[in-house]
Chain length 136, copies 4
């Protein structure tokens, strides 16, 4: 069975057993997701960028991050469920579209930007804003 | 195969082919996730709460929401991947712990709150803040 | 004295006295702001939309919301300070530009949308996505 | 006149002239704020941490960041306005309370953490999570 479906079903059962479905309209679930994203951000905020990964894979941070990642995922799956969106095929198709939008030959080693410039890896162009368009 | 692993692997291949792994330290991926959460929020923000679901399941909103949900999921899976966290078992275990923390007999039809009060479904207690503790 | 400058100066003194300036690079302050936005969202998430305002203006929610609004503002002012951006004239100019972009004659009672449709207040157009472009 | 009041009044007039007050219940304004925070995050996300400040103070990034900071501030002021909260004295009082909570003698050069450990500046304690409690 798809593991995203398994999480969806477990969350659905959790809500149904508690009669909590009624509180979870889309905007409320969205705000709950924002709350969990905030808790995740708090775990990362003051970590020095270059040491962040090595600090995050050790306890006690590791367990807390796993917890918050889970909370974000659960609300994301819940929101998708309420809108009858099947997340797995949708996300895989999105990666496929991003791959077509950013051909390897054009963007290898260079983060594309929304302002048409380049931020990384290109001489003399570091001033531009770097926002890959929805790429993973 | 687990579909979360499938998304993880597709995102990993996408980054590797473009030599983009180097830009994606944890704090940068976290900010990218926040950016996508913001785009999702923009799709919901002005919808009247009581009509939100019915508007969101129809095009053109439906496709756009599916897109943004995918982007959030892809960055979430990417962040977990970088920290060697396996999201599916972690999220399922989290739902299990939430279920134990909020026994059906105690919370049926009532949203638990962090201030010890009750927001919904309980007479005379509507003043309290309602934040289920990490429940799905 | 400008009150935004007063908050900026108090936050600056707070950091200087504690030698905390060094931890607060822009991306870290941004994540701290996201953390506080998350805490604010948690206070609103399960409130029924139509009762949210009346619940939020009463204690104990009122004091907690004031606290979180303050935290968001403090980090926002801090981020602007680090980038030498003077928030008050910038924000007032932004409202002025939004006013020119959304002429009263065209948008009265109707939320403009990014998809060119209308969400509220217009017959037969409720299907569109409503995202006023940065309007206050 | 207080500049936060000036922004509040300009935003109020903007909404009143367009008859948009009716769309802006607290949860909707909160989601709009999240949308603007997301746009701000997108401007910072792929910047190398150690060059972020110097890239952000130059155009074209500088103007875009000023714009997004303004949008976040405008929605923050709007939300406070709707809840009759006067942001300036509230934020100044919050900094004062943070200062009492984090005495200079105890935290000089060390980021306090929620797990009781220390992240920066203390020998052998770098494993802890660093979340200053609401400090500016």
């Amino acid at each position: 069975m798809s593991d995203l479906h398994e999480i969806r079903d477990a969350a659905r059962a959790f809500r149904a057993e508690r009669d909590w479905e009624k509180f979870q309209d889309p905007k409320s679930v969205m705000l709950a997701l924002v709350g969990e994203v905030g808790e995740l951000a708090e775990l990362l905020q003051w970590l020095p960028a270059e040491k962040a990964r090595s600090l995050l894979v050790e306890e006690p941070l590791r367990g807390r991050v796993a917890d918050e990642l889970s909370d974000v995922l659960i609300y994301l799956v819940t929101l998708a469920d309420k809108l009858d969106i099947d997340l797995a095929p949708t996300a895989l198709a999105k990666i496929q579209r991003s791959a077509e939008k950013h051909p390897v030959a054009k963007v290898h080693g260079v983060a594309p930007t929304r302002t048409g410039g380049r931020l990384h890896g290109a001489k003399g162009t570091a001033q531009a804003q770097a926002t890959p368009g929805g790429c993973p």
